[in-house]
Amino acid sequence: MDVWIVAPETGAVYREVGDALRAEVERVQPGVVRWSVVPLQKLDTLTESPRLVVTVGSSALTAVVARTSSGTGPAPAILATLLPRAAFEREIGRAAFKLNVSAILLDQSPARQAALIRAALPAAKRIGLLLGPESRALAPAFRQALTEQGLSPNFEDVTQRGLFAALQSLLEDNDVLLALADPAVFNSETVGNVLTAGYRRKVPLIAFSSAYVRAGALLGLYATPTQIGRAGAESVRAMLAGAMLPPPAVPREFVIEVNAAVARSLGLTLNADDLQQRMRSGERQP
């Protein structure tokens, strides 16, 4: 079977996902797949049509969808990896044809995030969430997941009063701030003020990537590029077995990262490995 991996050349992360996916498939079913690693810039120079295209990142998906729309011959199946659900649905929504598509998504489930808060910060009760245009649709799912864990969620939408008025309101009443990815809320310009405002009120931030933990968030919950690659490999193997691609999903595997200096300043001793163990066993139980 011909499989392409289309990824931008910038950024080691993109290459790591592709390499991990390929390595995992080869580990279990060596030699069955004919791989082509296609840099994004070279995509339009090719004329063949593989059975499956794996895209890494949203711009790769956009390019492949566009190419498929404009091309001839049978449309390949597309497995989009390393992108959030909002980006995936936006790109697929633009396609003018039916696709056999699936994705390995970046957004960790609300249930898993709620479980993390319970496991790491048992004293926390009130959870603040900032909503922006790209994240407000997630509010109902988070409300349900947090309430199920006995937590009390509070939402503030930044478009109403501005980011910092909303933040100030949340910091006043909540024990923890849970970040939902949204460029209008969390970006390299706002992260400084958001974190320092949290330090002033001793309200920690739980975020969605390693970059935020290194910047100063207390905890991060995310899947590593390797874990994303491995999850993609499972989907590829489903296709090799003759089935359709499984539905879009978040990888089963995940890591938790702790910023030790921030934890120490809050008087917390958190052990990432211990938290991971507890959460994984929590998920294994029905």
Partner: protein
């Protein structure tokens, strides 16, 4: 198949579109600046080389205090006295109870607000801080010259005002009630992550105690701007004015009169993040203060003091377990007062200062701090103030600390050069020196929500400045020792208890006036309860008990003062509001101080109501 133009356009431009408003994996993987650093993160109390008490915004609000001095009741070792009436509460640490609160250093955002006229005083600076502007107050109990320079002789109060990004929006608050209390304050803040601003106004008036002419009228206006020109730089600019009029009356044949104080300041600070958690800070300030009709009848003491100063500080980690902070400061003071310095009304002095502190994490459990300050003052020359502290984490929750430090108070210009009244200072005054040693215990029992802090201290004062004939000289060494404790306990269901107790003795040497030994009460304590009630209400009860003491005159009898506050929060029209009833001295009036029985400061029972609206 014919390619639709739209799709072709999408296809060709896909490599260049970066729509930052659309969520993509970039939001997860982009590099971010490192925000956390040792100086931005709240320092764990267990690592502090001194005993620290923190009063945060919530506590300030819950006490219903109308001035910063009143908040000091919550800090062990601090006494509030109304020696000169209600208008000027003196909040002093470990004694020093006279009309000049000069052995305490007070900083607002790193700028000293110590008043330099006459003997020096922290009182006016404290009165000029608007309570709604405060984010937190960190009080270092114990000499802190090693990091905060001369005048942090007995301790220092570090007030941090709220960042403008936290006060976007508006606020109006009013207070009114017995004793002529009429307060109003307002604030407006705006901006975003690049630049944010605030302007605030605060006016507080009251008639003081009923048997004294001690009414007070204070107005502060403050401006602050916080700018973030790059991801690594922050600039903060503040400016403000404080106007204070108060009534006073000192003796039988003296008429009631009003004295006035005015001050203005401008302060700019810059902070830059360097690599690997290092940081550079620099600041520059200018301020001016003036006293009008001060001490008239007895020789007047009007004057104006102008200061400018600049400071710089660099902190970094040499190797993983070493953190080093060092810096320097230059400050120049010009005083103009015919009353105090005739025939040479224009006086000036300047100081240059260098400091450093090394924090060495010897192991998981042991932390050592070695630091000091060197100062060169134009009137008195050089001196150095070292500090050594060792913190031992006995268990993850308990820390033991041993520290020793030497601190100085440089003579004020008055003490060096005054010609006021019959005095003629010959300039022989040397810096006052205090050597202090402490043993501290900190227990933070998080699972039961309790923290316990105990500080045992021995403070030896040498070279205390005194009037001697017509000169001001250093005499009368003495020692004070004792212990003080602070317990904070958050029980479940919205109950917080704060309890302090201080025990101390002054040990005098032969030659020291016997009266000095009674200058501080032997024990004093405060108990506070903050309780959340149903329907968004909360109750605060504060009780302070002080044993009799005689700083001067007839002194202060033993007293107990209980203050109450009952507040209700509610949201109306999307705004958060709070209305509160405050009762001071709820359990009846008490005598705070007797300088003269006809003019005793009697703290009367007063009730007042406040309303605060935020939008």
């Amino acid at each position: 198949m014919h390619i639709p133009v739209v799709v072709a356009g999408l296809f060709y431009s896909v490599a260049t579109i970066v729509n930052s408003a659309e969520l993509s994996e970039r939001d997860y993987i982009e590099e971010l600046p490192t925000v956390y650093s040792a100086s931005r993160l709240p320092q764990p109390l267990a690592d502090a080389p001194a005993s620290v008490t923190v009063i945060d915004r919530e506590m300030i609000q819950r006490t219903g205090a109308r001035s910063v001095a009143e908040l000091m009741r919550l800090v062990p070792g601090f006494l509030i006295s109304y020696f000169d009436g209600a208008a000027r509460p003196y909040a002093t640490y470990h004694g020093d109870n006279d009309a000049f609160n000069r052995h305490l250093q007070v900083y607002v955002d790193g700028r000293s607000v110590y008043s330099g006229l006459i003997l020096g005083s922290a009182t006016y600076g404290l009165l000029g801080v608007a309570l709604d502007e405060i984010e937190r107050i960190e009080i270092i109990r114990g000499s802190n010259s090693a990091s905060q320079g001369a005048n942090a002789y007995l301790g220092s109060v570090n007030i941090t005002t709220r960042h403008t990004i936290d006060t976007v929006g508006g606020m109006v608050a009013l207070g009114s009630g017995g004793g002529g209390i009429a307060d109003g304050s307002a604030r407006l803040g705006w901006g975003d992550e690049r630049a944010s601003y605030r302007i605030s106004l605060d006016n507080r008036r009251d008639n003081g105690f009923s048997n004294r002419f001690d009414d007070s009228d204070r107005t502060t206006i403050n401006l602050r701007a916080d700018l973030r020109p790059t991801l690594r730089d922050e600039i903060s600019v503040t400016a403000g004015s404080f106007g204070f009029d108060w009534g006073t009356n000192v003796g039988t044949n003296q008429p009631n009169r009003t004295e006035r104080y005015r001050s203005h300041f401008g302060h700019a600070r810059w902070r830059r993040d360097l690599d690997q958690g290092a940081e550079l800070r620099a600041g520059v300030f200018a301020d001016e203060e003036q006293y009008f009709a001060f001490y008239p009848n007895t020789p007047r003491a009007d004057g104006r003091v102008r200061r400018i100063g600049t400071d710089i500080q660099h902190s970094f980690s040499l190797l993983q377990d070493f953190r080093w902070v060092w810096g320097g400061e230059y400050r120049s003071e010009e005083i103009s007062s015919l009353d105090l310095y005739a025939p040479v009304p224009e006086q000036a002095n300047h100081l240059l200062r260098g400091f450093g502190n090394l924090e060495w994490r010897v192991s998981d459990r042991w932390l050592v701090n070695v630091g000091g300050l060197w100062e060169r003052h134009s009137n008195v020359g050089d001196h150095t103030a070292p500090r050594y502290a060792v913190n031992f984490n006995m268990t993850p929750e308990q820390t033991l600390r041993l520290a020793t430090t030497t601190a100085y108070k440089v003579p004020s210009q008055f003490e060096s050069r005054t010609t006021w009244g019959g005095l003629k200072a010959t300039g022989g005054a040397r810096p006052e020196r205090i050597d202090s040693s402490e043993i501290g215990y900190l227990g933070e029992f998080r699972n039961i929500g309790m923290s316990v802090d105990v500080r045992g201290f021995v403070e030896k004062s040498r070279s205390f400045l005194r009037f001697h004939g017509t000169d001001i000289v250093n005499k009368f060494p003495y020692m004070q020792r004792g212990w003080e404790t602070q317990v904070r306990w958050r029980l479940g269901a919205g109950t917080q208890i704060v309890a302090n107790h201080t025990e101390m003795r002054i040990v005098v040497n032969p030659g020291t006036p016997v009266g000095d030994a009674r200058g501080v009460p032997r024990h004093f304590s405060t108990l506070a309860l903050f309780q959340e009630l149903p329907w968004d209400m909360n109750l605060s009860v504060l009780q302070t008990l002080v044993e009799a003491y005689v700083p001067t005159g007839l002194g202060s009898p033993a007293y107990r003062q209980t203050d109450l506050r009952l507040a209700k929060s509610f949201r109306a029209g999307g705004y958060r509001n709070e209305v509160a009833l405050n009762v001071l001295a709820a359990d009846g009036s008490h005598v705070s101080y007797n300088s003269d029985p006809r003019f005793a400061s009697v703290v009367d029972r007063r009730a007042f109501v406040t309303l605060k609206v935020e939008f």
